[in-house]
Amino acid sequence: MIPGFVHRKRTDCLVSLGGLVVALCCSTAIADAPVIRVYPSRVTLDGAADRQRVIVQSVSADGRTRDLTSRARLVASVAHRVRIVGGVLEPLADGALDLVVTVDGRRLVVPVTVRHADMTSPVRFGLDVMPVLTKGGCNSGSCHGASRGQRGFRLSVFGFDPAGDHFRITREFVGRRIDLARPAESLLLTKPSEQVVHGGGQRFDAHSEMYRVLLKWLEQGAPRDPQDVSRVKRLEVFPSEVVLSGTRPGEDAAAESSHRLVVRAHYDNGTDRDVTGLTVFTSTNTASAVVSADGVVSGQRRGESFVMAMFGEHNVGLPVIVVPGGPVAAFPDLPVANRVDELIHRKLRKLRVVPSPLCDDSTFLRRVYLDTIGLLPQPSEYDRFIADKRTDKRKRLVDELLKRPEFTDLWVMKWAELLQVRNVKGGFFGWLRKRLLANVPMDRMVRELLTAEGGFFRDPPAQYFRQVGKPKILAENVAQVFMGTRIQCAQCHNHPFDRWTMNDYYGFAAFFAQLGSKRNWEDTREQIVFNKGSGEVRHPVDDRVMPPKFLGGEVPKLGRRDRRAVLAEWLTADGNPWFSRNLANIAWAQFFGRGIVDQVDDVRLSNPPSNPELLDFLANRLVADGYDFRKLIRVITLSFAYQRATEPTASNLDDRRNFSHASFRRLRAEVLHDCLCQATGVPSRLGGFPLGTRAVQLPVAAMSTEFLDTFGRSDRETVCSCEVDVQPNLSQALHLINGATTWGKIERGEVLKRLMTADDEPATVISALYVRCLARQPTVRERTRLLAAVAAADDRNEIYQELFWALLNSKEFLFNH
């Protein structure tokens, strides 16, 4: 987005000096004069029908924005060239002029050009009429966009099929929907404007822009679009940021503040157009910000929202922050460990959210063990870490953990889920493990994977293309796993909340259209995947051959190369924002329980990153470090953000997205299982694998136990991150309380026996059990009460067993915190 026209008064420094003086007497006075911006920064009116709304915004030093449009005076330097009606410029005569904006004693100038002021351009079906149908909600899934339409009249949902919609409106039911002899009497107009009964109610009135567009199109004879019609290239929304704030203190006080948005479409013929009136606006968080149909966003409760603007098949988004009004409490000067903290604090400062303090050593120890290697710290490791007095001991610990084989196990498991490695046969799992153990850079590994061909046994990564005849599924998986975006919707219609169109979908699928497979006749169990060099994907609406097109990118020149190689090269190129951001996000989510984009595989325009700068930083860092995952994780775990306590402060209680405090995360099935085995010292036998094989190491998807099923182990059926279920539920609690796993392991284990033999002093045993299970010492209160209970007990062994069981059943054990 082009930043708005910025103009600071020359006296800015004087004002700020003055402000400083004032600040001494009145602590809440404005420390700095607000910056005034006018959007757009340059206006070109092309054609008699062109309009452009202008908005004026002030941005105060603390980031709050205000819509000053209604207060601003707009004057054209050459009055006869434009007319200004309610903040909207209309062309009168060709030529250049200056739009002079005066507000609060400031004066800003926007250059305006008027062209073809006497030329009326025809209304186009695809460019003008289709957006009306979308804006009016006509083609939404609950109205005529439903698969069977309404009362026999069907439109393509969200307008994926303009040609089909043109047919249905003009020719499907001849003589019914439109009347070119009397255009205004067409049902296409009388129904949605409710001049006659309409089941869907009034969608717009007869004076609206939407009505005028449809009427004009009918008056032209309801033509199809010519082949050479210009198309929308991109969409932009003004202003570039909105931070709403009320004038009074309090959480809800932002309700009175609002800001007008303007949406401008840029066409491939170089023209642009104000399409605000034909844009569909939605807010992703209506508790914080609501947006009206004509694009005025209003603040509600403190928080963040993302406002989506949809025009035709294009989408664009704008982050909106809502902060309490009133005086701003000073934001504390927070220490930072690295760049991660700087970026998080920058966002928190905007939100006026103060993060929680850092957690203590034992909490950090347990957290980083579980997240990095999927195990609890051993009591000896605990003692060593607590006793360590060096200031950089956390750093040392992280370095140590990143070298452990269990770290690799954990990531092999995650990749096996993403790549749907479902068995040990054929060595795909082994290949994956070898790559990660050797710390092969991620980009190289993915290139090897995506270009794999040959027999499944000799070239195990070729197994990734098991679904060889299904280019659509392969494309969906690659997009979801390596780009973190779900394109499935676009198989049947343009994605309503994202940029993907059916063209994108089938263009991307075309990369996998030329895969072939055959049986290896020397070993008939083996399948061979190869590049046929022929085969195409066709668009289902008009059956045209789709050339391979990068998702969100261009149509590459292929030559005679394997299409997948071209794709892999593009995907893993340093400049590709999708790949590195996605990997960085996956890594981040492992340590925070949620991604910067969450879910990690649901990157979408309407689901933006909570902190884009942070994501960019991590992605760039990953690229700069040669796609070394360990280095990235080091940066993440050493940030103060990762080391915060779970206890919230007064202002960050509601925060879930900005990492101002640590969150409670239930351990995933495999890790919980392994921790249980570790704490009790009793390994489980998992299928036919050697005793001592941890659940994290299981290569087989089908192999599972009741325990793992109950706690939501992924069966690797799909690539979706939702396959791993970490939601707590009742059967999990019952399984732990009554199931054989916990109690059986306590009884069979020798932990208690060994503890009691070593030192049967109750305080020592209790303390050892706490360290073993929870990686902390009991609190004074816990210790006192437990000691009393032990003293009163007839059978000490029994009471220790009860305590052990209770600790393993505690939420503290089940959760990482």
Binding site: T170, R171, F173, V174, G175, R176, A181, R182, L187
Partner: protein
């Protein structure tokens, strides 16, 4: 103009004399015209045709469905589902039904239907007893012949009801009403032609415009302030014209006029939306109106509803009384088609088959056969006594929009392929006009033999005479000349 008419008559007389036949229209029936000696045989025509079209799958070492069409004996033996050819009866021959796309799976699969000439050849071969060679004996079938043979494959003589040379009704002394015009034409949906004169009626803006096809001039204007005419018809005797229509989303109406005087005979209002289909019974006393999903039977004299027939599940759009008034067919937008008897208004049969809106129904003048046209592209013919299917064929890819039946039983259809076609009773294409600039929406047969008028999406009418390749007249009713 007068001379044209004379010429036409002379031509007809000539044809009569030449063929020594009472049927005026026999001259245009190629089946009848074709000498009986042209034998269609497997060796000469069908074998090569099969080898070109079918034996890629149905031949060779492992023929699909065990049906081998490469050799005569194997073709007679049929495939895994039994015999595919029934001598003398194409409509019981699976091969013909699948090849003509009357039944599924369509053959050849995923390809356009065979050209009409080839289908005709196959049909003639079957009709002729599946000859192997010119000297073979025709095969016979023990099976009873299909229904079609019982209703008669075609009309031998046009139905004239003993009118003799009486001229058809013409406007005389109609009130003078100015034609309302617009800048642009509206897709033609209301179009009718008198069966006994050269009158052509078309819907205008709150009016019905009546033209004389011979002179090309406007004969008169009938006001229809009830709204927009959506359907127009002449009664079988040409004495009454009626319009169904209304204001979309507001009200519906059916209005009838005396063709000679231009006086209103009846006006029935209906419901909250346009009446899309209606029919007047031959006595002129009862009107069947498509009122949303219900068929209302109304007395024209009193406007009283006698009966409500509520079986359709979508808007009733096409209605037709049989010429004797004993039967009624009603078709809806969902493809539902129902045959009724008109004494007790009981349902005789549900005519199942159409997969898209029924866009028109046309009765054969003898009342024994009714044809229906549909958005699914097919024309289906039904036997009128019990409602059994006779035959069907793909008439217009994309959908048939208009259908009309001539006095001799030939059918005229128009559709989305922008073409107008005429068909003989056997469903063989006789004539083709077009493609036009846009989809052809309606067709009407003028009461001058061989004259055809079609309307299209742009609002243009075209008049063709006989087999002339170019339309004799093209005009846009109600469009102000610029």
């Amino acid at each position: 103009m007068q001379r044209d008419q004379m010429l036409e008559r002379t031509n007809t007389l000539l044809a009569l004399v030449l063929l020594v036949s009472p049927a005026v229209t026999l001259a245009e029936d190629p089946v009848a015209r074709k000498p009986k000696t042209a034998k269609v045989t497997f060796r000469d025509q069908i074998g090569p045709l099969f080898r070109r079209r079918c034996t890629g799958c149905h031949g060779g070492g492992q023929p699909k469905a065990d049906l081998d069409l490469s050799r005569y004996v194997a073709a007679m033996a049929g495939g895994s589902s039994g015999e595919v050819l029934v001598p003398g009866d194409p409509l019981q021959s699976r091969l013909y039904l699948l090849a003509s796309h009357a039944e599924e799976p369509h053959m050849p699969p995923k390809r356009p239907r065979l050209p009409p000439a080839e289908l005709t050849l196959i049909r003639q071969w079957i009709d002729g007893g599946l000859l192997a060679t010119r000297t073979s004996r025709p095969r016979t079938s023990k099976r009873p012949r299909s229904l079609l043979s019982r209703v008669g494959p075609s009309l031998r003589r046009p139905v004239t009801k003993g009118r003799g040379d009486q001229p058809g009704a013409r406007p005389f002394g109609w009130p003078v009403v100015a034609m309302r015009t617009s800048a642009r034409g509206r897709a033609v949906v209301a179009l009718a032609a008198s069966p006994w004169s050269s009158l052509v009626a078309v819907g205008g803006i709150g009016q019905v415009l009546v033209y004389d096809a011979v002179s090309g001039k406007l004969s008169g204007v009938l006001p229809f302030p009830e709204g927009r005419p959506h359907q127009l018809s002449f009664s079988a005797d040409g004495e009454v014209i009626w319009a169904a229509g209304g204001q979309a989303g507001v009200s519906g109406a059916v209005v009838g006029w005396n063709v000679r005087s231009g006086r209103r005979l009846f006006a029935v209002t209906d419901g909250e939306d346009v009446v899309l289909g209606s029919a007047l019974d031959p006595s002129g006393k009862r009107l069947a109106i498509g009122s949303d999903r219900v068929v209302r039977i109304v007395e024209t004299a009193t406007g009283r509803t006698i009966r409500r027939l509520a079986v359709h599940t979508d808007w009733v759009v096409s209605i037709g009384f049989s010429p004797d008034g004993r039967r009624l067919v009603t078709g809806d937008r969902g493809g539902g088609l129902v045959l009724w008897e008109t004494r007790q208004w009981d349902r005789v049969s549900t005519l199942a088959g159409h997969r898209g809106a029924v866009t028109g129904v046309a009765w054969r003048p003898d009342g024994r056969v009714v044809a229906s046209a549909s958005q699914d592209g097919t024309v289906r013919q039904w036997e009128a006594e019990g409602g059994r299917p006779l035959r069907n064929w793909m008439a217009h890819e994309g959908g048939v929009l208009g259908i009309a039946c001539r006095a001799d039983g030939q059918l005229a259809t128009v559709g989305r392929d922008r073409v107008a076609r005429t068909w003989n009773q056997a469903g063989a294409e006789q004539d083709r006009r077009g493609p036009l600039d846009d989809i052809v929406t309606r067709v009407a047969l003028v009461g001058v033999p061989g004259w055809l008028v079609v309307g299209d999406w742009t609002g243009s009418l075209r008049l063709w005479r006989g087999s002339e390749p170019k339309p004799r007249a093209t005009w846009q009713p109600g469009v102000a000349s610029r």
